[in-house]
């Protein structure tokens, strides 16, 4: 159940079936300018995710990171890396569910728990940076007023 939600979420961002074995490292890139084609919500989400991945510095070679707001109550953090010695692929996906009770952290193979302490501060800082940079960089809006930037 949970696994299918993660796959669906990642599929929305990457446009790919996550379960399929990747032949090569997928690098998420900003869609190129296409004056005659309209961007869809999914493509806008891809652009957001590109910014989300850059919030924490450069993504190392052979490493893939996703951080994005899926919907008003759900944020996704995904990390993929390959062990160069063993060739083993490591995947980690965390879903943060926002509710009145707090922010529930959902990971495959782990107990659900509410985010607290330093982790909560870090997460809030990340979402704040995401909001500010996505508002300006993707939607050309002032994050303080919500108005379109001139």
């Amino acid at each position: 159940m949970m696994s299918s939600i993660f796959k669906k979420a990642l599929g929305l961002v990457t446009g790919q079936v996550v379960a399929a074995p990747a032949k090569e490292q997928v690098v998420l890139q900003m869609p190129k300018n296409r004056p005659f084609k309209k961007r869809t919500e999914r493509e806008l989400l891809q652009m957001e995710s590109y910014i989300g991945a850059q919030l924490f510095g450069d993504v190392p070679a052979g490493h893939r990171r996703e951080f994005f707001c899926l919907d008003p109550h759900t944020w996704i953090w995904h990390e993929e890396s390959v062990d160069h010695q063993t060739g083993e692929k490591k995947l980690s996906t965390t879903k943060y569910e926002v509710s009145d009770k707090g922010i529930l952290k959902v990971q495959e193979g782990s107990r659900y728990s509410y985010v607290q302490g330093a982790e909560l501060r870090n997460l809030l800082m990340a979402t704040r940076l995401y909001y500010e940079q996505v508002a300006r960089g993707v939607y050309s809006r002032d994050p303080h007023t919500g108005r379109k930037l001139a």
């Binding site: 330093a118 939607y139 007023t145």
Partner: protein, 109 residues
């Protein structure tokens, strides 16, 4: 790297300090000040209007979701005033919180 380790926090701190600082719009600052005072008058027992981390994250999420939906509409040369209102309302909510945090830190405008 994950949200609960130090490298994550350090990277975020670097990004936050490296981000360009912007002047606060005086008109917006005045509107915020009035809104905060008004809210405090309505809630005299509540010292400050503060949002919980979950409420902040929800405000960010609602705003981003509305911007994304409106962005897709704008690509079709369409618009939706309700989404515009939601974006403005969420922006006001989070900006008020910033101002309160600044006041708490002794950096009031």
């Amino acid at each position: 790297m994950s949200p609960n380790d130090n490298s994550w926090e350090n990277a975020l701190r670097y990004e936050a300090t490296a981000a360009p600082q912007q002047d606060v719009d005086p008109v917006l600052a005045a509107a915020l000040s009035r809104a905060i005072s008004s809210e405090q008058l309505k809630n005299p027992e509540k010292k400050q209007l503060t949002l919980s981390p979950a409420e902040m994250m929800q405000a960010y999420g609602e705003s981003i979701d509305a911007m994304r939906r409106l962005g897709a509409l704008e690509e079709q040369h369409d618009t939706d005033p309700a989404l515009e209102e939601k974006i403005a309302a969420s922006a006001l909510k989070v900006t008020m919180q910033y101002e309160l945090e600044k006041k708490d830190a002794g950096l009031a405008v």
